[in-house]
């Protein structure tokens, strides 16, 4: 640790003006990377939640028919579903409840009796049951004309596809951030090598090994990365909290809050360390490769 934080005694890299702003750049990169990680893990959690909820929950829709006895149809369907192996519960959704669901679209004063609203039954599938939904749908349609099993699958598939696409995008952004960080570090190191060429030559001529010189560079640049990464991460976490607060206060249910979970939190906390290690490895390779060109 002391070696890691030790100053570059002979090269005095600390006094280089060219690397002064590197922590600021690293900070911005870490900020973006942390937000990407936040988005990536939040989406992953959200997709799991959607899948879990929607594969356990089904809806049976009985089409509106002004001449049919809808209450009987609902009762028949509930009875059939309740007796189906693998169905945990089947509950008819009351008309008031349906009205409540439609309230955002139709308003509070809508009269349910005037509208051709289908009747709904909420079905919960038992855990670990292997139920054939297509067969159930067919059986239900035969027993109760106008009844249809809505398995939410197409909608869920689209949502999962969208979520996965955004996850790939976030991963791509992270890769891009990593590449840009490496390129910036390479430029900074090469500038440092040129600026300190004379001192490096003296060190070589009095018997310094390439490792001795490389260590001064890698320790200094890793320290700069860490100094930039920590504030970048802190700002990103603050931004995530603000985002969650806004999402909560707006009651915008379509926007999931940024909940990274334990894996995401670990990934975020490891981010500065990973950047420092990436910097250290990059700097070491660049310096050793450059020094090999010298006698």
């Amino acid at each position: 640790m002391i070696q890691f934080f030790g100053k570059s005694a002979e090269l005095q890299l600390e006094k280089d003006v060219s690397t002064r702003y590197l922590p600021v750049v690293i900070s911005a990169m870490i900020f973006l990377a942390a937000l990407s990680i936040g988005g990536l893990f939040s989406l992953s959690n959200a997709i799991s939640d959607w899948s879990e909820t929607l594969t356990e929950n089904l809806t049976v829709e009985i089409a509106f028919d002004p001449v049919a006895d809808l209450d009987k149809k609902v009762a028949d369907a509930v009875a059939l579903l309740s007796n189906t192996p693998g169905v945990a519960t089947a509950r008819a959704i009351e008309q008031e409840e349906t009205l409540l669901l439609l309230e955002p679209f139709l308003g509070k004063n809508a009269s349910l009796g005037d509208l051709p609203i289908p009747r709904l039954i909420e079905v919960i599938i038992a855990e670990d049951s292997a139920i054939d939904l297509a067969a159930l749908n067919k059986k239900l349609a035969e027993a109760v004309p106008g009844a249809r099993l809505d398995i939410h699958r197409p909608w869920l598939d689209k949502m999962v596809l969208l979520g996965r696409s955004i996850q790939f995008l976030a991963a791509g952004i992270m890769l891009l951030i990593g590449c840009v960080t490496v390129i910036i570090v390479i430029f900074a190191v090469r500038t440092g090598l040129i600026m300190h060429a004379e001192v490096i030559q003296v060190l070589h001529l009095i018997g310094a090994r390439d490792n001795y010189i490389a260590e001064q560079f890698q320790n200094y640049f890793s320290r700069l990365s860490l100094l930039g990464a920590v504030p970048g991460l802190i700002v990103a976490i603050i931004v995530m909290f603000i985002f969650n607060f806004l999402v909560g206060s707006l009651e915008a249910s379509m926007l999931p809050p940024l909940t990274v979970g334990i894996e995401g939190a670990i990934a975020l906390l490891l981010l500065p360390l990973l950047v420092a290690l990436l910097t250290k490895y990059t700097v070491r390779r660049v310096v050793l490769k450059s020094l090999r060109r010298m006698m």
Binding site: V199, H204, L205, I206, G207, A208, R209, M295
Partner: protein
């Protein structure tokens, strides 16, 4: 110790600055290297200091042919060589003590031993009161003494000095030449490059003369009284 066989050297694609150099330095010998400005003295010293490789020919140092050395072998070889550069090449941000201690530190010596040795040597070269001074605050002669102290702190087997007394008064110059002689007596091979023919005559060691990139060895009584100012 040191053997040059048909050695030539050029910088990049430029003309040869050293041509067909042949000589052999026995362990514990003391040689002067002299010649007019631009004759190639510094280039020859660069080959000796393992700072450059020859363009052709064989350079053998410490019984190892330089062109066969791997990169990992070079630091160990360089630690056996002490070099006093004409332009000192001190690290301006380090103190006198730290500059002189650098070869020992790089070689991995323990701190307490390092600083005791360095303090004693600095005292000997007359810089005992300037251990904490940084090179920019030192005079030319003082910088040269720091450079010499740095070159000899490691007890090198080969000591190379490029105009080591050029920036100091005659008395200090002589004192440092005596230091080189002391090191030579304990087995260090010494090569001193200088324009100062009076100094060469005073010490009476063998002289290698470089002119137009070619090396000749002459006895003391064959030395010219002065070199032509025109390097050609």
């Amino acid at each position: 110790m040191v053997r040059f066989e048909n050695v030539g050297m050029r910088y990049g694609l430029g003309p040869e600055v050293l041509r067909d150099i042949n000589f052999h330095l026995r362990p514990g010998s003391f040689h002067f290297l002299t010649g007019p400005t631009g004759a190639g003295k510094s280039s020859l010293l660069k080959l000796l200091a393992l700072s450059h490789r020859p363009s052709r020919g064989l350079v053998t140092l410490f019984n190892k042919e330089v062109s066969t050395l791997s990169r990992e072998d070079l630091p160990g070889m360089r630690r056996k060589i002490g070099v006093v550069y004409q332009d000192f090449r001190l690290l301006d941000h380090l103190s006198t003590l730290e500059n002189v201690a650098l070869p020992l530190k790089i070689a991995g010596a323990k701190n307490d031993q390092v600083y005791q040795h360095v303090a004693e040597l600095l005292e000997w070269v007359g810089l005992g009161r300037q251990v904490d001074a940084k090179p920019p605050t030192l005079s030319g002669g003082e910088k040269q003494r720091v450079a010499i102290a740095r070159a000899v702190i490691n007890r090198p087997q080969l000591l190379i000095a490029d105009e080591p007394t050029g920036s100091m008064d005659a008395e200090m110059g002589l004192r440092l030449m005596y230091l080189f002689q002391e090191l030579n007596k304990i087995g260090t091979t010494v090569v001193v490059a200088t324009h100062d023919l009076e100094l060469i005559k005073r010490f009476g060691n063998p002289v290698m003369i470089l002119k137009d990139g070619m090396l000749t060895t002459r006895a003391q009584d064959e030395l010219p009284s002065q070199f032509s100012k025109d390097p050609a």
